[in-house]
Symmetry: C2
Subunit: 608 residues, 2 copies
């Protein structure tokens, strides 16, 4: 994709954007917000800039909103003006100090939600001014710079309040849809919710769209869990059970999300009908099941989604219990296994917006990998299998009470157990830790073979080297052991992820030393020991201080799109075009790479 340079004066801010990007969006990309009240729809006329160099044919919107003399002088509505060659433009100073907040990973976000409430003083109809109520309202909104569509239910409401003596009304607009008209001024109450529909955990955040504050957060297990622990199992259920199973899965997700919405509303004394928009993220399978779209083609080769595109649904169509005419926006996905959650991670971390070269990994059954910077971004998915979630591991378990989540090997074995109780098994982060510690203590070879007690006679932990069912094992407690087979499972899982990282980085021609940061996203990323990840070769050999757990950035990204139309534009329109999807199984030398990546890095390399 050809990139063009845009320079904004007076600050000489420059940005490189694909041909066809609007000057408005390019400026946002450069961190330079241009005034707008219509959200870049060409209707408010406030985003004008003066083009000094570069082609900028005037559009019909320019003729509508600008004076002929302004057009001659090069003024254009930046939201309508597409960049077709290198351009220089002058941006007027912002007329107002926008409300803003820091969100995600140090991202500065302007509070300009897609939901708006406009308080309008409507003139009374008369014989001389017999405009319809809808026309009168529409004209008042046009004066505010908005051109909206009204549907039948809003017309019914409008007819009801049009006879009242009070002519002050509040119009609630979501995007370009008029969803509510209320008598009087209700502008102080306006809420939205972001939802991270994870395979395991679902998180809902209630956001006050007047202040930008998160007023309540709640999370719970995804109710689909009873139909299978992971996406593969759930897709299997949907495929075997037909329509009925699909509806079960859909309803389970809906019950979970609606329950959380009820909970956050209850906690914040907000009526669900005061939520006008929900922004939802999740992996592609979760989004398919959320809409009742059969996920078969995600499950079977060649693994394509039915939809990846962002969707804008009515609350009724989505079956969410918010304002009855509210809207539900689904983040776009990049591929069947690089989901909307990853796009939200990219938004929250600003990975595609900054010059720093970064790698973001969400480790799970399916490892999702994105690397790049403002110039280029590549993404891929690596089938890690269930090892990181405790699957296929003799004493493996999910990260819940009794799980060994941290291990330190020195003169003895020290365990960190969730809930501080007697250990019951090992979860993913514990598995990564113990294997890394075994490597560092010299009990596990580069090729993944556990030492026998005979090989390390003087080692303080040699008594822990045991046999279980005829294979070598390392005893963490009297009962709980890590077997040679478990190590093999972990090798296979980390080999897949490492191969994915390698292929994505190769796609951009990157070496580990190019990475300024390695970001571990998602629940697993929060608990994993960065040093251990590095020792295993799960992440590239970068200095450990460059490896950062960023937490639930998917939820943060959704919140950003909820509170800022500019961030939403990036997430919904620009990132799907910009992120280059690399198909892992399409890499010619995938098998050789994978086999090479089964081995652990040499201790010299790790300690370097």
């Amino acid at each position: 994709m050809r990139k063009l340079q845009v320079t904004y004066l007076p600050g000489e801010t420059t940005v490189h954007v694909p041909e066809g990007t609007s000057l408005f969006n390019a400026a946002h990309w450069a961190g330079l917000p241009i005034e707008s009240t219509c959200g870049g729809r060409g209707t408010c006329g406030k985003c004008k800039v003066r083009v000094l160099e570069g082609a900028a044919d005037p559009t019909p919107s320019d003729h509508r909103h600008l004076l002929a003399a302004e057009i001659v002088e090069g003024w254009r509505l930046s939201c309508r003006c597409e960049v077709v060659e290198d351009t220089r433009a002058e941006v007027p100073r912002l007329m107002r100090a926008p409300k803003a907040a820091t969100m995600g990973v140090g991202r500065f976000v302007l509070l300009e939600p897609n939901v708006r409430k406009l308080v309008l003083d409507l003139s009374a109809p008369s014989l001389e001014d017999a405009r319809s109520h809808a026309g009168r309202l529409r004209d008042a909104l046009v004066e505010e710079g908005l051109e909206v569509q009204a549907d039948a239910p809003v017309l019914r409401t409008l007819a009801g309040i049009a006879g009242e003596s009070e002519r002050r009304v509040t119009a609630t607009v979501v995007g370009d849809r008029l969803v509510e008209v209320e008598p009087g001024d209700t502008s102080a109450r306006m809420f939205g919710a972001s939802v991270d529909l994870g395979t395991t955990t679902v998180v809902a955040t209630l956001v006050d769209l007047v202040t930008g504050a998160a007023t309540a957060v709640a999370s719970t297990l995804n109710g689909q869990a009873r139909y299978g622990a992971d996406v593969i199992a759930r897709m299997g259920h949907a495929m075997q059970g037909g329509e009925e199973a699909l509806e079960e899965l859909r309803q389970a997700a809906l019950d979970t999300v609606n329950g959380l919405l009820e909970e956050v509303c209850g906690n914040a004394a907000v009526d669900p009908s005061e939520i006008y928009e929900v922004v939802l993220v999740g992996n592609a399978t979760m989004l398919h099941l959320f809409l009742g779209v059969e996920p078969r083609s995600i499950a079977l080769a060649p693994f394509v989604a039915t939809f990846l595109e962002p969707l804008d649904l009515s609350a009724r169509e989505a079956r969410l219990r918010i304002h009855p005419r509210g809207r539900v926006a689904l983040f776009p996905s990049i591929g069947a296994y690089v989901g909307a959650d990853i796009v939200a991670d990219v938004v929250a971390t600003g990975l595609a917006r900054e010059p720093r070269m970064r790698l973001l990994v969400d480790v799970g059954t399916n490892g999702e990998i994105v690397c790049g910077n403002v110039d280029r971004v590549a993404a891929t998915a690596a089938p890690a299998g269930p090892a990181f979630e405790g699957g296929q591991i003799l004493h493996g378990m999910r990260a819940s009470e009794g799980a060994i989540e941290g291990v330190r090997l020195g003169e003895d074995v020290r365990l960190q157990v969730i809930g501080g109780v007697e250990p019951r098994g090992i979860c993913g982060s514990g598995l990564v830790d113990v294997v890394a510690q075994l490597r560092l203590s010299g009990l596990l070879k580069e090729n993944g073979i556990l030492a026998s007690p005979e090989e390390v006679p003087g080692h303080p932990l040699s008594a822990h080297l045991v046999e279980r069912d005829g294979v070598r094992a390392f005893a963490l407690t009297g009962d709980i052991v890590l077997t040679q087979l478990d190590v093999r499972e972990l090798q296979s899982a980390k080999g897949a992820i490492a191969t994915g990282i390698e292929v994505a980085m190769d796609h951009l021609g990157l070496e580990p030393e190019d990475l300024e940061e390695v970001l571990l996203a998602g629940a697993f990323g929060t608990y994993i020991n960065p040093e251990s990840a590095r020792v295993l070769g799960l992440v590239p050999p970068v200095p450990v201080e460059r490896i950062k757990a960023v937490g639930n950035t998917a939820s943060e990204g959704a919140k950003m799109a909820l509170t800022s139309f500019r961030e939403r534009e990036v997430a919904f329109e620009q990132l799907p075009k910009m992120i280059e999807y690399v198909e892992l199984s399409g890499a010619e030398d995938f098998n050789e790479r994978f086999i090479r990546n089964l081995a652990f890095p040499s201790l010299e390399a790790v300690r370097a």
Copy 2:
């Protein structure tokens, strides 16, 4: 509104259009269709013309669809190019002979419905081409020149058929919405319906959108009749009965329309789900009740509608039983009492498209009046009261079996009775006839006073001049008489209509001799005797051969908008802007005019 001249070469066709009209629509207005497969949405790139004179800034769509060299030579997509000064443009010859039919009153209509079926051969997904099913479909539609939105239900369908081996699918698009995807080629089956939701009679026409033929027509009484005979009574019911009454009225209209749709489908062996679009017309009150929108403000001064704008609804929202994702388009209205039916009349007659100066009158409880030509059009509404429907007339009745519908007075009284049975009363056309005949036979004075037998001693009909309840009357049969009070009622009704016509014509500075045609629309217009209407002064004194009954042009106009996106553009976008609404009660001298119009024209004037 400033009008600009556009001249199309090679034919030197000229047209005057308001500033901002697209070259594409202006050409259609001039009867010069420009090629297009996307319906003027800027996506197919087929409507290019070469602008020879006049400003034509290239738009982003031009850059997308045209070569740079073409843009330099003046080529532009005509659907994106707005006329801002007098313009000359060269139009390439049509590449195909479009299907066309004559509809309405001699209108030549190209068969290009808003509903389209596209048969697509989709490529199979692969590891190399992992586009989503929706993306693959969208790309195939873009190649056909269409950019569409897909919603969740279509995605569910798509997931279901994407796994099938057959990769040929048929996509059904209504406007810019994808409403269906089916395996195989179903393009031979595509239907729409036009509905004229009259206060009294409802007509549904099933149209084969492949051939443009009307395959079945059915009509019935509006089921709302049980809540009141006319719009005033029904609005009263809605206002007194609240939500419940409003829902009753809505449901009655829906039952009527759905019943007719079922009937036409049954007659034509069409499944209701094969109807993808309904275009609906009716007066503003009918459209409000159809959507369950409280009509109170239409009923009460200052008489404004809640909506006049055209609406595009889902079949589900409109509660019509057609394809579940089908669309329902409502014609726009001009004022609370100049309804969508009149807009459809204007479409069907081409009144606003031809240089001929014409007057169109729809006589009823509310008289609707439009006059003008391609340059200007004025409309008004006249409150005629119920006389034309038999109301407030001693022996008045609706036009049903037993109604005297025609009267001829000579040596004796000759009656034409509906159904050829014993007469039971007089309907509107009979009323107009008898009063006109009384005028012509010298039994009724210019001021509306019936002669006494003493005043016309030798008249062959003097024996019919009787008294009834102390007032003069004319006996049509032994029982059925027309009283002096009946004549007064008729005078009042015709006075209102005549005043409306006068005010509208004055608005455009027209004299009767300027009128090349007087069109009588609607059921009443079909049965009224043009000569009688002229004798009463119900229509201006034009030669009788210029008075034409045009029948149910509302239904025809709806059908035209159903079969031609160009006609729909005229009806939905251009006519509401062009038609100047004249508020009758706003005319300063309304009362004087009305009183003057109570009198009948002199017989000299009528015979001149």
